[in-house]
């Protein structure tokens, strides 16, 4: 129950004689009533200034200020004018005095000697009225609070609906941009194919082929980025963290981004300390972070710009700072540059290529390394500065990871069985293997693969995982059980490059796991390695 409703009902009694006050209180006293006594009009007014009163019982005949004067004063003040007043008079009151009393605001006259029952019942009526009024006030306050709460909830749900709507619009814009961005490299590839169809060995053929290669690389990168960002957003990316030197990641990034920087005629200035800075991180992912920042700078800087890459060590962290003198960033865009799809709005004027996911990836990957990212720009045309801070770990002499050896030794011919339900994919793999001097055959499903393996006794099986019917894992397990296949090397080929996918492939009995699309270089290298291992006699079990 509301505390306002439990408080006793305050009743003011005013009489110049203390014995009258005591007698009145004695007659009226009961639970739920509180009596406030005053011996003069002045004292009563003082009390009324401080306290709320439900009913006033006023003696008429008092020295100085009489009851009528006091009632008039009460009627004159906003605070007290609604307090019901009962006059207590000695003896019979004449009409003119009563009239004056009612004019002053009395609700009743009671004559002394007072009849206790009548007085009690009148006080009871007024205190009941007072309680009801108080209850209504409490209900009104509750209703008001309730209405305010409803308004707030309504506003909240409107805000949420608005946020959802905006997210939906951004998603639609992103999908439109995505379609557009995928079509960008596809359109010249189609043109190239048509040119080659009309004139396979014409003067343009070589240019067309290298153009198609570049556009395809671009397409693959777009799709890799997309897959990465979706994995990161769902928290399904595995970091292979180890103690690495930050310089290694930075160097790898520079190597990756140099072609784009050079193609745009930019000058890249490096300021990197030689003393190794150790971080606990995934080399590939950190290189990707720095490379994305460099690519971003290269894309958003007019031809012939300046790009700076600085690494600054501090006590517990290191800053990687990538700055450019390019297009800069609008102030209202700054807080959003790391948001996914942030670039998706201005699709007409965007000629830079890309989906606006590079920076989103940067911020998420840095986050996963316990670091922070920030963007600064003085405004459009004033260039931008991106700073990534990563926590440093104590120095250690342990250097992990071995560089990929790259030597173009000629391939010793091997028998390779290609298993892929995608006929085109299988055929092109066959051509590639043919080109690098291996003898390859194709099976388009698992059952056929097992049959052919029995006949041709291959050295290597290149096996697609996602096939209808018997999948790659199953084919792998069956092949492993086949007699005479002890030396067989099995390579899984999938569109999924996650650590968990690799583990699954190894568990099924694969020796290697490669992610599609497979480049000729990688395939050449892998088969050469397998060949060398085989000749050295260190075979896999």
């Amino acid at each position: 129950m509301n505390p306002a409703l439990i408080k006793p009902v305050p009743i003011l009694i005013v009489d110049d004689l203390s014995e009258n006050l005591i007698a009145l209180e004695a007659v009226l006293r009961r639970d739920g009533l509180e009596f406030i006594k005053a011996k003069s009009g002045m004292e009563a007014l003082e009390i009324l200034l401080k306290r709320e009163v439900a009913l006033a019982l006023l003696d008429v005949q008092m020295p100085e200020m009489d009851g009528f004067e006091l009632a008039e004063m009460m009627r004159g003040s906003e605070r007290t004018r609604r307090i019901p007043i009962i006059f207590l008079t000695a003896g019979v009151t004449d009409r003119s005095r009563k009239f004056r009393g009612y004019e002053a605001g009395a609700v009743d006259f009671l004559e002394k000697p007072l009849e206790a029952d009548i007085l009690r019942s009148k006080v009871a009526v007024f205190s009941e009225l007072y309680l009801q009024r108080r209850q209504i006030a409490v209900q009104r306050d509750n209703l008001k609070a309730f209405a305010e709460e409803n308004l707030r909830l309504l506003k909240d749900s409107r805000d949420n609906a608005q946020a959802l709507k905006e997210a939906d619009v951004r998603k639609d814009e992103f999908l439109a941009t995505l379609a557009h961005e995928l079509r960008n490299p596809l359109a010249p590839i189609r043109n190239g194919l048509q040119i080659l169809k009309m004139s396979p060995d014409g003067p343009r053929a070589e240019d067309v082929r290298s153009m198609m290669d570049r556009q395809l690389t671009h397409l693959v990168r777009l799709i890799d980025d997309l897959l990465d960002v979706s994995r990161v957003s769902r928290g399904r990316i595995d970091l292979r963290k180890e103690r690495i030197s930050l310089q290694d990641a930075v160097k790898a990034a520079v190597e990756t981004s140099k072609p784009l920087i050079d193609a745009n005629g930019h000058k890249l200035t490096l300021d990197i300390p030689t003393e190794p800075l150790w971080v606990e991180g995934d080399l590939t992912r950190l290189a990707q972070v720095v490379s994305n920042l460099l690519n971003n700078a290269a894309k958003y800087t007019a031809h012939g710009g300046r790009i700076g890459l600085t690494v600054t060590p501090h006590a517990s962290h290191a800053d990687i700072i990538v700055s450019d003198n390019g297009l800069g960033i609008e102030a209202d865009m700054l807080p959003r540059v790391f948001d996914l799809f942030a670039q998706a709005d201005s699709h007409l004027d965007r000629s830079q290529g890309g989906l606006g996911i590079g920076l989103a990836l940067v911020s998420k990957l840095v986050d996963m390394h316990g670091g922070t990212s920030k963007a600064e720009s003085e405004g459009p045309g004033k260039g931008s500065t991106f700073t990534v801070s990563l926590p440093l770990v104590g120095a250690s002499g342990e250097v992990q990871g071995k560089p990929l050896q790259k030597n173009g030794r000629p391939a010793t011919p091997m028998k390779v069985l290609i298993v892929d339900d995608n006929v085109d994919s299988a055929q092109t793999s066959l051509w590639m293997l043919d080109l690098i001097g291996h003898k390859a055959e194709v099976a388009n499903d698992g059952a056929r693969a097992l049959e052919m393996a029995r006949e041709m006794k291959p050295d290597v099986v290149l096996l697609d995982i996602g096939m209808p019917g018997m999948d790659g894992y199953e084919v792998c397990r069956q092949l492993r059980k086949m007699p005479g296949m002890e030396q067989l090397v099995l390579i899984a080929q999938t569109g999924w490059g996650q650590e968990s996918d690799r583990q699954k492939a190894f568990a099924a009995g694969f020796d290697h796991h490669i992610t599609k699309p497979v480049s000729l270089d990688l395939l050449t290298q892998l088969l050469a390695d397998i060949n060398q291992t085989a000749t050295e006699g260190q075979t896999h079990g």
Binding site: H180, N184, R190, N191, Q194, D349
Partner: protein
């Protein structure tokens, strides 16, 4: 300029305005193989600066150009008296009816969605060439 082998009829000239370098170049080669002459412009400014010297019969304009976009460029070129007989083809990745309406409103005569189909391009340019020789002779 490539000789179209039409004996006397001047080869139709096509100005391709496209900022995607690979797409511009391969579109140019396709146009050349079909048998017409082409010139590339990477943006609206280049197109405006060079068309008077090249005197194109047809403009193929990408909508998503940096700076002045394809709609604005088309409006600008259409307002020039020396280009009143020139045919404008919009080239865009957007093929919805609202996009077709926008290109038509900007003054384009044709709307082609990327990637281009050689057959469609050949047919369209053939029709334009036929109309041109018809109106001249």
């Amino acid at each position: 300029m490539a000789d179209d082998g039409n004996g006397g009829t001047e080869t139709m000239r096509i100005m391709i305005v496209e900022d995607n370098e690979a797409l511009a170049q391969t579109t140019g080669w396709l146009v050349e193989m079909i048998g017409y002459d082409y010139k590339l412009a990477a943006n609206a400014k280049q197109a405006i600066d060079t068309y008077a010297e090249y005197k194109p019969d047809v403009f193929m304009i990408d909508i998503g150009l940096p700076g002045m976009n394809g709609y604005e460029l088309c409006r600008e070129l259409k307002s020039r008296p020396d280009l009143k007989d020139v045919v404008f083809i919009a080239q865009t990745g957007w093929g919805e009816s609202e996009h077709r309406k926008m290109t038509a409103e900007a003054g384009f005569d044709h709307h082609m969605v990327k990637p281009l189909y050689l057959e469609a391009l050949e047919a369209l340019l053939g029709d334009i060439a036929k109309q041109k020789t018809g109106s001249v002779g």
